[in-house]
Subunit: 351 residues, 2 copies
DNA sequence: TGTTAGCACTCTCAACGGTTGAGTGCTAAC
DNA sequence: GTTAGCACTCAACCGTTGAGAGTGCTAACA
């Protein structure tokens, strides 16, 4: 915090007033407005002088001469680090969240998606969530179920009780007995291991020992791999994309569309959120701090979630730089805590 | 078709020209434009007279005096029923579709969603799809897998190889043997039946016979019911919602947002599409033919899909009334045929 | 030395009014 | 029945203008 010295109490108060006002009104805020609305006990001329200083220091800018001031990215940055008030959620909001989180969801992915929906609803911005990152999942059990004579359902259960399944189609005739033998053999080989601990020789061995045609074994093994891949993979979801349109900075349709197109680019959002998972606690990316040029008017706030000190993913919101940071932070905080509790509940005593 | 008598060849040609032009340009089209662009061998004054007639008959309207004409809903209706040309897709479009449909998907829901994505891509409109309606699904097998000592995975396979699973949590200790006994008993009761053929007495009987605590049985049975419900339930998905913004009629942000809000209302879309499933072939809902007031500038084109003469659901597009009907119809037709083929493949010889 | 009132100046925005151009309806001639 | 010609209408464009908000600067005051 090099800047801290730079700004005395009064400048801070004024900067805070400017930002609070601007966030609320979306209009450049002038000296008179501040003198009137916020009780700083100062005349507008004094504030004018201070504002000139703040502008020189780069915390605020003027869209044009004779307009009020708006915060710069640097201003917002200072705000979130030093000035922002995190007012706790309103009682009715808490009730709303609790209600939405009410039904017990046992699946991890469903759970985080639900949390994302709630954040989007409460904040009125677009929320973003990364599904749990379960690297090197340990296989706990593999099951094969006969669906019909042409199809087998492969079910893989991994550590933490995460389940994936996949249908495989084959053209051989296969009876229950040999299938259950295959199931057993697969379990012997795979249980307790991660997918990359399972080597080719093992599979060849398997193929040799079991009297099941290769046309069945190889798609089944592939399906197991697929399932593990799905378990280990993380996706990034956005909720409430159209909330973007609710904010006047995007009332220009061209801009709005540009943003919407951008948000559809999975990988952009993905890298954005993924970087957050290594941080602790809250991570702010304000305006041009996002490398991407089209995002220079957007901010991303994320926090990590997980269980027992282990980060599993990140969750947060995307909105205009002119965002109600305090409110958003408190919402994310509250919901991510609920989420953590739920994850601990279902993930529980498990590795 | 009462109207058919109303319009002679020339009026039809002019109406078609107006619509074709307007769909392409989004501008009211004047008599001179038609006289020039389309070779009808008529002067603009003649066309002017005919247009006056067409207006009186309600096929076209004038946004204001001294502007060109735009088609009315009645005009579009006549167009799709009598005038529209269905030009087959371009070679590259076919290639694109084939490529996108390339990977074999075995899950029904995934498949129709994929088809929806393709339609949205090809047409540039928002596509809508209703997932397969499998009423009174016949249970083909129920499996219970131990995930860990607190959780059981319930897997239900229904007719057509549709699979659903659900995790259930319980607090009892239960061993493999009694679980497999429960599995067997469940199968004896349920296989070959629909969910509403399974009665309370059966379950009580089950509970009495098997030495498995009620704390386990009842959540398991509930989970089975849940799975069946999920199998039988249909959802409606939209793809490419933001495509709406690509059309000038929604360049008014207020209008655009209204539409986007509307499309978020699941039940609106749901009832819209659901009504289509009882039709045969294509169904057009043009502008105010949609009962909902906010949809008076939107058209919905749907067709049914299914396997072997059995309708499973509907798929189509939502776009502005000023839509390239011909192109959309050909795209939907082509893709739904592909979809039908795939469904027949995976659904196959099954009830 | 810090604060403030006053004033001239700047810039946006909305309203106004004239002009342009596309398109119509009507009439009269072919 | 068809068409050329003409007067008329109306939205869109554009430059002008005045109001309003806000600034920077200066001079006076505590």
């Amino acid at each position: 915090m090099v800047w801290e010295k730079e700004l005395n109490e009064r400048k801070r108060a004024i900067l805070k007033s400017i930002i609070d006002d601007y966030v609320q009104s979306a209009q450049p805020v002038g000296s008179r407005t501040i003198a009137r609305k916020h009780e700083l006990g100062l005349g507008s001329a004094t504030i004018r002088n201070e504002m000139a200083d703040l502008e020189e220091l780069g915390y605020i800018t003027q869209p044009h001469t004779s307009a009020g001031r708006i915060p710069s990215d640097k201003g917002y940055r200072f705000y979130v680090e030093n000035l922002m008030q995190i007012h706790s959620l309103a009682q009715e909001e808490i009730a709303k969240i609790k209600k939405a989180m009410d039904d017990r969801i046992e699946e991890l992915d469903q759970l985080v998606k639900r949390a994302s929906v709630i954040i989007s609803n409460i904040t009125g911005y677009t929320s973003v969530v990364m599904t749990p990152l379960l690297t090197r999942a340990i296989i706990k059990s593999v099951q094969l179920l006969v669906v019909d004579d042409k199809r087998i359902l492969v079910v893989v259960v991994a550590g933490g009780g995460v389940v994936q399944n996949k249908l495989v189609k084959h053209d051989s005739v296969i009876n229950e007995v040999s299938l259950s033998r295959l199931t057993q053999a697969l379990n012997v080989i795979m249980v307790g291991k991660t997918i990359d601990q399972i080597t080719m020789p093992m599979m060849i061995e398997l193929q040799r020992e079991i009297q099941v045609p290769a046309e069945v074994i190889s798609p089944v093994v592939e399906a197991v791999e697929d399932c593990v891949r799905k378990i280990e993979s993380t996706d990034v979801y956005l909720e409430g994309i159209t909330n973007i349109l609710n904010h006047p900075e995007f009332s220009d349709l061209l801009k709005a569309r540009e943003i919407l197109e951008l948000l559809k680019e999975e990988d952009v959002i993905s890298t954005l959120v993924r970087s957050a998972v290594h941080k602790q606690k809250f991570d702010f990316k304000i305006g041009s701090e996002n490398q991407i040029n089209q995002m220079k008017d957007l901010s991303v706030i994320t926090t990590v979630y997980g269980s027992e000190g282990k980060n599993l993913g990140a969750i947060g919101v995307i909105g205009p730089t002119r965002m109600a940071y305090g409110k958003v932070v408190s919402a994310i905080q509250y919901i991510s805590e609920l989420l953590n509790r739920e994850i601990t509940r279902i993930f529980g005593d498990d590795s």
